[in-house]
């Protein structure tokens, strides 16, 4: 049904983390952590597993130190019992560590999927509570990228980064302790290289971050342009504009790849440089370690007596080097994680912004249920504007008796649909009131009010599902006969019947298989089936050719008989017989009366009426 929009075409714009205030950040973090708290048991288990798995992995080099020291005595002097003992222990540790890390990964996936499921559900449920106006002012693609791309971003960060941070901290702390226990003096090397590493990544990420932001922004622009032009491909082709449009696309493309390249160009230095700093530590450790080992050997032979602080065994050097690698790893990662977290926070902020949109006002506490509707509707001194500064209806009063037809006419864009928005309570009046059966509609439950109306709109809305499902949408559980009867009245039955799958034909997204007119007839069949006491027809037959319209007119008349109807239509035959005609222009009701009184007024209605003969 919808031809535009893919997974998250514009969403990449969201990836560039905009600057957030500290308070806003804290608020976002608090709200995210609420989701974690819901699963605090699992989170705790994850944490324990993470600690264990990392501690086990950390213990291994220490064991390897023992094993090597047992090998070291040299030819024929290897202490096999110790070697085998420590090797076996290492193996056990590694197996446990692998098992734990697998379990941990699986648990984390499940946890994060649970959270993502909850977030999506909450967001969707909230969306269904939002007033119609929200959807009028927000692009569908934007809403989609909130619920897909942004939530995904938050989730990736939750499951990946949190784990990473935890693991990194444990690894860093553990390695530090282990290295200190092997040789506190050698550890001094890191007092030199770690600050270097931190300063460097800080400096770099400060330089690179805006480049990444720009890269996401440019990519978003490119995607947006591609999406838009693709939707107009047939027109572009009809006008032979492929080359021009392609060359404009090229400009966007150039900007996008250039931004990508610039961010790569600078970030390309990060990996190798951090690696260099690591190698620097390694070299220094080796140099010093070599010297200490020399001292150690000299002490062993008894030629010198150097403080044990400045000596190290061969196994010690080996273990120290292994720990130093473990120690350096997470520090490199921190820069990445920080920028990940920033974009996750930005995404979460956007998701929460939707969740914070004010929903439709709840029904008043003691709202009544509207029942036994005869069809009396009254508008009394209604004043309304979508934005307070622009009043659309100034002071509208009218009364519809049961069975009356109220027609609303006027040029396009005049605000005819506004009245319908008010009747259905998609919007609330600014002042004045609307009464149904003498009861103020704000005192009724929305559900019962809306069920009192059947609405057919110009915009045909069908969803992915069978024709049958689409027709019964307004009344689940309707029998096959009833559905067919409604379809016959809407003059769509024979068309549906001729389809290979009949009523079970699935209406697909792109809807190439069904014309616009037929779609509208299906929505009319849906209305026919719904059978409510009042009707709203908003240019309900605009896409149907007049001959078919004429055919269904009889059915429409049957449908309208005895019901109160609000009709926006361009068919004069309907309008002429209306009990009341509202002429709307530039957002104001300028004339109001029956066909005859309006014709006598010789005003706007009169001139509209005559313009149709003016060919």
């Amino acid at each position: 049904m919808n031809k535009s929009g893919i997974k998250a075409p514009r969403s990449t714009r969201g990836a560039g983390a905009p600057k957030m205030s500290r308070d806003a950040k804290a608020a976002v973090v608090r709200r995210i952590s609420k989701y974690l708290v819901q699963h605090k048991g699992t989170v705790l288990i994850c944490f324990v597993m993470m600690v264990c798995s990392n501690v086990l992995a950390l213990a291994a080099p220490k064991l390897s130190q023992r094993a090597i020291d047992a090998i070291e005595p040299g030819v024929g002097k290897v202490d096999f019992r110790s070697v085998i003992f420590y090797c076996a222990l290492m193996l056990v540790f590694y197996i446990l560590s692998a098992l734990l890390s697998y379990l941990l990964a699986v648990t984390m996936v499940k946890l994060s999927q649970k959270i993502i499921y909850t977030m999506r559900r909450e967001l969707f449920n909230h969306l269904t509570e939002l007033p119609v106006g929200y959807f009028d002012t927000h692009a569908t693609g934007e809403i989609i990228s909130r619920i897909s791309y942004d939530i995904d971003t938050v989730n990736t960060s939750l499951s990946h980064d949190l784990l990473q941070i935890g693991a990194s901290m444990i690894t860093v702390a553990g390695s530090l302790v282990m290295m200190a226990s092997i040789s506190p003096v050698l550890l001094l090397v890191f007092a030199f290289t770690v600050p270097m590493s931190i300063l460097y990544t800080k400096y770099r990420s400060g330089r690179v971050r805006p480049l990444f932001r720009k890269r996401s922004q440019k990519l978003g622009e490119l995607n947006g342009y591609a999406e838009e032009m693709l939707s107009g491909q047939k027109t572009i082709r009809a006008y032979g504009r492929e080359k021009v449009i392609s060359s404009r696309f090229d400009e966007k493309n150039e900007e996008a790849v250039e931004a990508y390249y610039r961010s790569e160009y600078y970030s390309a230095t990060v990996g190798p440089t951090v690696n260099f700093i690591n190698n620097l530590s390694l070299s220094l450790v080796t140099m010093l370690g070599g010297i200490f080992y020399l001292f150690y050997l000299m002490n062993e032979t008894g030629s010198t007596n150097i403080l044990p602080l400045f000596t190290i065994s061969l196994g010690g050097v080996s273990a120290f080097v292994q720990y130093s690698r473990k120690f350096a790893g997470p520090i490199n990662e921190f820069a990445n994680i920080v920028s990940d977290l920033q974009s996750a926070a930005a995404a979460a902020e956007k998701v929460f912004a939707v969740m914070d949109e004010a929903p439709e006002l709840a029904d008043v506490p003691n709202a009544e249920t509207l029942s036994h509707v005869k069809g009396e509707v009254e508008l009394s001194h209604v004043r309304f504007g979508y934005v307070p500064e622009r009043v659309i209806l100034r002071d509208l009063s009218l009364k519809a008796q049961p069975g009356n037809t109220i027609a609303i006419v006027g040029p396009t864009g005049a605000g005819k649909t506004t009245i319908i928005n008010l009747l259905m309570r998609f919007y609330d009046v600014n002042s004045g009131k609307i009464l149904v059966e003498g009861r103020e509609i704000r005192g009724l439950t929305r559900e019962s009010l809306r069920q009192a109306y059947t609405m057919v709109l110009q915009e045909t809305w069908l969803f992915h599902g069978t024709i049958y499902e689409n027709i019964t949408y307004g009344r689940e559980g309707a029998s096959r006969e009833e559905v067919e009867k409604a379809a016959k009245m809407a003059h769509i039955h024979s068309y549906i019947d001729a389809l290979p799958d009949g009523y079970d034909t699935v209406l697909s997204d792109d809807g190439v298989n069904i014309s616009k007119g037929h779609k509208q007839l299906i929505t009319i069949a849906r209305a026919m089936l719904a059978d409510s006491p009042m009707l709203i027809l908003d240019e309900a037959t605009s896409n149907v050719d007049s001959r078919t319209e004429q055919k269904i007119q009889a059915a429409m008349q049957t449908l309208m008989a005895g019901r109160t109807c609000f009709v926006i239509a361009h068919r004069l035959s309907t309008v002429q017989n209306a009990n009341l005609i509202l002429v709307v222009k530039d957002g104001n009701v300028i004339e109001l009366g029956t066909h005859d009184t309006l014709m006598n007024q010789k005003g706007f209605y009169y001139s509209l009426y005559h313009s149709q003969f003016d060919h």
Binding site: I6, I71, D545
Partner: protein
């Protein structure tokens, strides 16, 4: 992947240089642990502190060289990725723009969109990454093996034995994982479809109080997605622990075997330490390789999807006049016994014949799905006829070069395309038209009045799909666009349905008076929009059931009379 290679080919020397630098940088890095073991085993026993320092400095030099080499190579790789992506994306977009409607429909727009956006992005990512890591990881692996082999071939053999285990498990897991990810992707699509549908149909949903129903529907989609994603991710979650474990297993074995060999004077303990160092390098390389593998499969899938589009054979090829000879004396538009079917089953148009002189007006009227739009599409050659022929000025449309053919028409289609740009640009549509021509067209289309009401007039910015203007204003801008190019043939497919009667009448008058030599084809629901046409065709289920002028049809065609009566007698009011 062939396509990708083709686009990389022009850069092959550059790539070769990049890879060479990368290789050198990596090799230098491999020397570092070698020096480490040399210091511990050979330098320390000499007791010369100075020598230890010198070798340490050598390590530093190697580290610095490795750093410089890697930075340079990474930057070069980024350049190649930029150039090739830019060209691939360009080729894809250009091809997409020229796809015929039939091809476009078979790919579907959402699918083409994701090919243009996320697929090209994946390719970009993969090209860069493969060059950055594709050399480094295998080099580290290979280099590590070679160096350790010189240190101690037996221990190396022990270590190499774990590699097949790793490869098999990584392959096995990704083979299972990739289809699972594909399933997940489809579930994502269904989840999004519900959101998209509901965002668009919110009025209907609320009017029918179906909120709970939609929530349940969404919940099902959400649940399915979560299940699929969990399955895919947990499957992949096994790969890292497995790889790590196998490597560590190898390490332990090396120590055990090493102990035996040290005892037998076949090796020194320092070598075991060096081995452990290389192991770290190799295990990082293996994990890197596994990542490349996953990314590569993603990238390959994307490249495949791009290739499908780029390699689509052009259809609607311009045929030679010898095949469809032109009729020299004929003028205007001629349909000769034209039949056509979209799906190749039921005819959507059958045996349609008529002719319309240059400068004449053709009105098309008929029920929903009767073939009015199809007829226009055949005239524009959006599709080729099944049989018969469509000729303009005696030439079969299949023999007219695309540019020439497209240049003849000014078209407004149903729900036509408005893009985010100024009003002037929406009318100009990338053509070389002066401001005066644009204003003139807007005047003819009855659009100038409302445009000039904007403070910024023609420079007023429209939103994508024209969401900030009314339906009638949209249609007038579209008509202005069609008129602005001075077309020889004007095609208006339900182009004025949102206009009120007065504006519609004024529009028709202005077209009639100002565009006398333009042949016009009008599709409409309203009789009044076509009643002054030189020829009106009444279509029903793809057949002409009435042809003639308004008066003739009133006399001869019952269906037309019915339509006309219902509208003129009963009349229409907007």
């Amino acid at each position: 992947m062939k396509l990708l290679l083709e686009y990389l080919k022009p850069y092959r020397w550059y790539i070769a240089l990049t890879l060479t630098i990368k290789t050198l940088g990596t090799l230098v890095e491999l020397v570092i642990p070698y020096i480490l073991s040399h210091i511990l085993d050979s330098v320390v026993p000499t007791g010369q502190v100075r020598n230890i320092v010198w070798w340490g400095v050598a390590m530093l030099v190697c580290a610095a060289l490795a750093c410089v080499g890697n930075v340079v190579a990474n930057r070069m790789a980024a350049r190649v990725a930029r150039q090739s992506t830019q060209q691939i994306r360009h080729a894809l977009f250009e091809r997409v723009m020229t796809l015929s409607p039939r091809q476009l429909d078979s790919f579907t727009i959402p699918s083409l969109e994701s090919r243009l956006t996320s697929d090209t992005y994946h390719v970009h990512h993969v090209v860069g990454m493969s060059m950055r890591m594709g050399v480094r990881a295998p080099m580290l692996l290979l280099g590590g093996i070679i160096i350790t082999a010189t240190l101690d071939p037996v221990l190396t053999l022990v270590m190499v034995l774990v590699l097949p285990m790793i490869s098999v498990s990584v392959l096995f897991i990704s083979k299972k994982g990739i289809p699972l990810f594909q399933t997940t992707q489809r579930s994502v699509d269904s989840m999004i479809r519900v959101v998209r549908e509901d965002a668009q149909g919110i009025r209907v949903i609320k009017a029918l109080s179906k909120t709970d129903y939609e929530r349940r529907k969404y919940d099902r989609a959400n649940r399915r997605l979560v299940e699929d994603e969990t399955r895919a991710s947990t499957t992949m979650a096994a790969s890292n622990p497995l790889v790590t474990f196998f490597l560590n297993f190898g390490l332990v074995t090396v120590m055990l075997v090493g102990a035996v060999r040290v005892n037998g004077a076949l090796t020194q303990p320092g070598k075991i330490i060096a081995f452990i160092q290389y192991f770290t390098l190799i295990s990082n390389a293996m994990i890197g390789l596994a990542r490349i593998f996953v990314n590569y499969s993603k990238g390959a899938a994307s490249a495949q999807r791009i290739e499908e589009v780029v390699r689509t054979e052009p259809d609607l090829i311009v045929a030679d006049e010898s095949r469809y000879p032109s009729m020299r004396k004929e003028e205007g538009i001629v349909f000769e016994d034209v039949s056509f079917s979209y799906m190749g089953k039921k005819d959507n148009l059958s045996h349609v014949s008529f002719s319309l002189p240059t400068g004449g007006t053709l009105g098309l009227i008929g029920a929903t799905g009767s073939g009015k739009t199809t007829l226009i599409r055949l005239l524009m050659r959006s599709y080729d006829v099944g049989s018969g022929s469509v000729r303009i000025e005696g030439r079969d449309v299949r023999t007219i070069p695309h540019e020439e053919l497209n240049g003849m028409f000014g078209v407004v289609m149903q729900n036509d395309f408005i893009f985010a740009d100024t009003i002037a640009e929406n009318i100009r549509f990338g053509r070389e038209l002066s401001d005066e021509e644009i204003r003139h067209a807007a005047r003819l289309a009855q659009a100038s009045e409302f445009i000039e009401q904007y403070e910024d007039g023609y420079e007023h910015l429209l939103q994508s799909k024209g969401t900030n203007i009314s339906g009638g204003q949209k249609q007038r801008i579209l008509i202005a666009r069609a008129l602005a190019g001075n077309p020889r043939i004007l095609l208006l497919d339900d182009a004025s349905s949102a206009l009120d009667y007065r504006t519609d009448a004024a529009l028709r008058r202005s077209i009639r008076e100002n565009m006398r030599n333009v042949t016009t084809v009008v599709v409409a629901q309203r009789v009044s929009s076509v009643m002054n046409s030189d020829l009106i065709l009444v279509l029903d289920e793809g057949r002409i059931i009435g042809a003639g002028t308004h008066e003739e049809l009133l006399a001869t065609c019952e269906v037309y009379r019915e339509i006309s009566d219902s509208q003129i007698g009963g009349a229409i009011l907007e």
